[in-house]
């Protein structure tokens, strides 16, 4: 009885054609005389083929569109609520950090970088301003709701929420700073929007958590 079987990870690499001689020869020789390993390889191939044949689509819950529509309405209403978020100290502070970091990155550090640049004139990329503008009203609203519900949460939970928000904010600040440095980057714009989305999602979950207590 052969107890020295080939592990699944090696079989997986073999199935993908990644093994080179002498490992390839060793595995092929083993498979030729070890039916359990040959059967394991067949099962692996069948499982991978089945994964590749899984249905491409699954219907989302019906309430998802309603939630999206509501958020689109919030985004559309944003221009009608100018300035609200600047009254929120927390968001103003976050914006200040972004502007300071962005400004620092925009100030040319050497003669080469100064070529063609408008010296000392900080400019927030349009996409950055647009992303912030889209999310600010929703975030402010959720933040206000959460603030009003803080009393029902335990101090530890509040601390955890604040810490988690600080982590998301630090990611937003990093992505914003990177976008200031590279305003044409669609990937950075996507990443920044994704971080804002996470923040909105997190605040929604937090407000749901506190309102259910």
């Amino acid at each position: 009885m052969n107890t020295d079987h080939i592990d699944i990870e090696t079989l997986s690499a073999y199935a993908d054609g990644e093994l080179k001689t002498p490992a390839l020869a060793r595995v092929e020789q083993h498979l030729a005389r070890c039916s359990p390993c040959a059967a394991a390889l067949a099962r692996l191939r069948a499982a991978v083929a089945a994964a590749g044949a899984l249905p491409r689509g699954m219907e989302p819950p019906p309430e998802v569109w309603g939630a999206i529509r509501s958020r689109l309405a919030d985004a559309r209403a944003a221009p009608n609520r100018p300035g609200r978020w600047w009254h929120n100290g927390w968001l103003a502070a976050a914006a200040a950090v972004i502007l300071v970091v962005g400004t620092a990155l925009l100030v040319p550090r050497g003669a080469d970088k100064a070529k063609g640049a408008k010296l000392g004139v900080p400019q927030m990329p349009v996409v950055l301003a647009s992303v912030e503008k889209n999310y600010a009203p929703t975030i402010t609203e959720l933040r206000e709701t959460l603030n009003s519900q803080r009393a029902v949460l335990s101090p530890n939970t509040v601390k955890t929420l604040d810490r988690s928000l600080a982590v998301i904010d630090s990611a937003i600040a990093e992505a914003s700073a990177a976008l200031v440095a590279d305003p044409a980057s669609a990937a950075l714009a996507d990443m920044l929007a994704a971080y804002y989305e996470r923040k909105v999602g997190f605040l929604k979950r937090a407000t749901n958590l506190s309102s259910s207590m």
């Binding site: 699944i8 993908d16 692996l44 994964a51 899984l54 689509g57 219907e59 689109l72 985004a75 994704a194």
Partner: protein, 202 residues
């Protein structure tokens, strides 16, 4: 003979745009702010987006939230789609990037989680039976088994498995998207398959 696992990519590579003119028109109207047009695009693409979010996140609850986030993101970014690739490919790529960004953000957050709320692992009830009864693949039982085994994979292994074996991306594409080395992706895939086989054999 090694015999490559033959999978046909469905979506990851940028297909040439042969978009139906009505979909182009819907996209143009949505960019102009027409919500009805966007709703039609949502209904045309939401099942694909939701399936991807579900497999990458592992739970229906997270997938529903991610689907919301993705479509709000699509609404904001639709104006950047230039029609060079099919809209379905553009949405697919945007969804993958969005979910990966979200996962990275979530991982950063979890590092700071205290024991009170605890790590956001999939709920037992949610991570099992994620496939709806309305889905009718060739073998429903096999598909449910595989879906559940995928949902139970650790996040890193699940991401690579879904992108490679389900969605058909190549390792170099996954490495670029996830910001990891190609060798790491390969190792993650083989580990994922090993865990998947162990789960299926139980």
């Amino acid at each position: 003979m090694p015999g490559q696992l033959a999978l046909v990519p469905d979506g990851p590579s940028d297909e040439p745009s042969d978009e139906p003119s009505d979909e182009r028109s819907l996209a143009r109207r949505a960019v102009a702010g027409d919500e009805t047009a966007f709703e039609q695009l949502y209904h045309a693409h939401s099942s694909r987006v939701f399936a991807l979010c579900l497999r990458m996140s592992g739970t229906r609850h997270q997938a529903a939230e991610l689907t919301q986030d993705v479509f709000v993101h699509i609404w904001q970014r639709l104006g950047t789609w230039r029609g060079e690739s099919a809209l379905s490919s553009w949405i697919h790529r945007l969804t993958v990037n969005f979910v990966l960004s979200s996962v990275r953000s979530e991982q950063r957050r979890l590092k700071y989680e205290t024991s009170e709320i605890g790590p956001q692992t999939p709920d037992a009830d949610e991570s099992t039976l994620i496939l709806e009864a309305s889905v009718k693949p060739k073998s429903v039982e096999d598909a449910i088994d595989i879906e559940n085994a995928i949902a139970a994979l650790p996040p890193g292994a699940r991401t690579v498995f879904v992108l490679h074996d389900v969605e058909g991306y190549q390792h170099n594409e996954i490495a670029t998207m996830t910001g990891t080395a190609e060798g790491t992706c390969r190792a993650q895939l083989h580990r994922a398959r090993k865990l998947l086989m162990e789960a299926l054999d139980r």
